[in-house]
């Protein structure tokens, strides 16, 4: 085990080279609906139990199923209304189970990125070979069902190994060359993109995804009331929008249809979306669009700046 994952360097949030998003936008805004499939009777993993009760865990399973049966369309209507294309963190098996949902997203030109096969299969305990197979299976499924070359990763249930990002970058290259596997949502160390070291040295970035704005963290872990979540979204935006004048920032709202789309919560979410998209000078984008733009325009400058600051240390 390592003391530090080694993915990125210390890079202070001041005096960085200025980022300007397309058309001079000061903030890049993206919404990442997690569209997940949890299994009713998944195999055991020695490091993490998928469900707290002996199977069938009716409550946990069924509310997540509600997200697919009912909640998905509700959030999709909101994103349509405010002109937002979702960037889907996808349990790839959902392509097989619920192709109707995949079709609805394809019609809207939403982005699909990998969130593993099932959200009840954890990376913990996998050999490097097994993890590579799982990552490849998910990227191939996404390509087969959507025609998209998967660019981003959020490990299933945020379960990682020491090799997760290396493997994702390598499998992306193996399948799609430079067009596959070049950004990660797994790290929460910054409000701007950062270059990531992978063992193959690929041009690879971390795109801020945010646990703090994640509806499941807010509602299930911190257990906040809906209106407080809506307020936090607006306040988070206000600060990043203001700081974006100095150098472009990113705000992501990661969502789950079984949380944010509930009838008693969706109003707070809608108010935040209306507020955020009501601002000028923001770039409403997908994760891949942000990553691509950054790689093309700022990645090299960032590497040089990080390197110069390390030398001065």
């Amino acid at each position: 085990m390592k003391e530090d994952p080694g993915y990125y360097d210390y890079w202070p949030y001041e005096d960085r080279p200025k980022i300007e998003w397309p058309n001079g936008a000061q903030l890049a805004f993206w919404v990442a609906p997690n569209i997940e499939f949890y299994e009713l009777d998944p195999p055991p993993n020695p490091y993490r139990s998928p469900w707290p009760q002996p199977h069938p865990a009716v409550q946990g399973y069924s509310i997540r199923d509600w997200g697919n049966r009912v909640g998905h369309k509700r959030q999709m209507e909101l994103l349509d209304k405010y002109g937002i294309r979702g960037s889907i963190s996808l349990s790839a098996a959902l392509c097989d189970h619920h192709p109707e949902i995949i079709e609805m997203c394809k019609e809207r030109d939403w982005e699909f990125f990998s969130h593993g096969i099932y959200n009840t299969r954890y990376t913990y305990g996998m050999t490097e070979h097994q993890e590579r197979e799982m990552i490849k299976d998910a990227m191939e499924s996404i390509f087969k069902h959507t025609g998209q070359k998967c660019a981003g990763y959020l490990a299933p249930a945020l379960s990682h190994s020491e090799y997760t990002l290396d493997l994702f970058a390598e499998v992306g290259t193996e399948l799609f060359g430079e067009e596959g596997g070049f950004y990660s949502c797994d790290l929460f160390h910054d409000d701007q993109p950062t270059p990531i070291h992978t063992r193959g040295g690929k041009r690879f970035v971390s795109i801020p995804y945010s646990l703090e704005m994640n509806d499941t963290i807010a509602y299930l872990v911190q257990k906040v009331p809906p209106r407080q979540y809506g307020k936090a979204l607006k306040e988070n935006f206000d600060r990043l929008y203001q700081e974006g004048i100095e150098s472009g920032t990113i705000m992501c709202i990661p969502t789950h249809n079984y949380q944010v789309s509930c009838a008693h919560r969706i109003k707070a979410y809608e108010e935040a979306l209306e507020y955020i998209t009501g601002h000028s000078n923001i770039w409403v984008a997908t994760g891949k669009e942000i990553a691509n733009y950054y790689l093309e325009n700022y990645y090299d400058t960032a590497l040089a700046d990080i390197s110069a600051k390390k030398i001065r240390n």
């Binding site: 009760q53 002996p54 009716v58 409550q59 069924s62 189970h97 009838a263």
Partner: protein
């Protein structure tokens, strides 16, 4: 290469195909269903479900401690008596509120409570409100791995007892903690249950497959229930009332656009029947009953109207 610590089936996915990963019900998105019309052209069916629960002091906690049950070493007098408060005091505040706002409540009763409190059950019987079975008591859990004969007997004891005491047919069921074994739906259908309320995966009833007989799943929201919001999430009673009113507004609009919907409110007299909270229940009932498009109905009547 390192040996995997996982069984070799960990990367095999036998159920990875169209629909669900089990055969209990069919995959179906709400948007693809026929539009539902409630009686008299109403848009939103209001199902007020009152849990009348018995939490025994000598809780076994097998295979887990039921949420809302005893948490302290025996004898946990604080939790036993505070739950009992609901059935002695809180419930009579509820009944007054229901009558004041013209609400038709459905009572989900632990059979053991019915055995212990004939006065309360007579009171409900006189009102002719619907009674459904909430299991034998809150510590008599149904769970994965439970012996099937033992569970069948538990269900028989719960239903026979409640049917006898209530004089009602008892068509509906909620498992304690909404927890089940793989056999629970089959056993319920075998013993004359028409609808059950454990699965929270939809906003409308839907057919559930069983080995014998038909069974309807009637989703009862956990996310909106008083226990979940006020005690689990630690929100104020005022916040609960805001959340319910927000849900009502959203579902009413959804119903206008897409056909009849259900607002299911699962409430407990030991939670909302407290003097400092009852006002917020009244506020909610006042708001809901002021909407002409809302149809307050028993769970069984909602299921029947949905079938029709």
């Amino acid at each position: 290469m390192a040996m995997s610590e996982l069984d070799k089936n960990y990367l095999q996915y036998p159920h990875r195909s169209y629909g669900m990963d089990h055969k209990r019900y069919d995959w179906s998105m709400l948007q693809d269903r026929p539009k539902v019309v409630w009686p008299e052209g109403k848009l939103l069916a209001l199902w007020v479900n009152v849990g009348l629960q018995y939490f025994p002091l000598n809780q076994k906690g097998h295979p887990f401690k039921v949420p809302g049950g005893m948490t302290k070493p025996y004898p946990d007098l604080r939790h036993y008596s505070l739950r009992d408060y609901g059935n002695r005091v809180g419930i009579y505040r509820f009944l007054k509120a229901f009558d004041r706002y013209g609400i038709k409540p459905t009572f989900a009763v632990s059979t053991r409570l019915a055995e212990r409190t004939p006065y309360l059950i007579d009171k409900i019987k006189e009102r002719e409100d619907e009674i459904i079975c909430h299991g034998y008591h809150m510590d008599a859990l149904h769970y994965g791995g439970q012996d099937q004969t033992e569970e069948a007997e538990l269900i028989r004891k719960s239903l026979d007892g409640l049917r006898q005491i209530s004089g009602q047919a008892i068509r509906g069921w909620i498992s304690p903690a909404k927890n089940e074994s793989a056999n629970t739906p089959d056993l319920l259908a075998e013993q004359g249950i028409n609808y059950f309320c454990d699965w929270v995966n939809d906003d409308l009833p839907y057919p559930f497959h069983t080995k014998k007989g038909s069974l309807i799943a009637m989703p009862l929201s956990t996310e909106l229930e008083d226990y979940h919001i006020i005690l689990n999430n630690q929100h104020s009673a005022e916040s609960w009332s805001e959340q319910v009113c927000d849900a009502c507004d959203f579902l009413l609009q959804d119903a206008r656009d897409n056909g009849g919907r259900i607002l299911s409110l699962n409430i407990h007299p030991w939670v909302l029947g407290q003097p400092h909270r009852i006002g917020y229940l009244e506020k909610v009932l006042d708001y809901l009953s002021s909407k002409p498009e809302v149809w307050s109905a028993y769970a069984g009547d909602i299921v029947d109207a949905w079938k029709a």
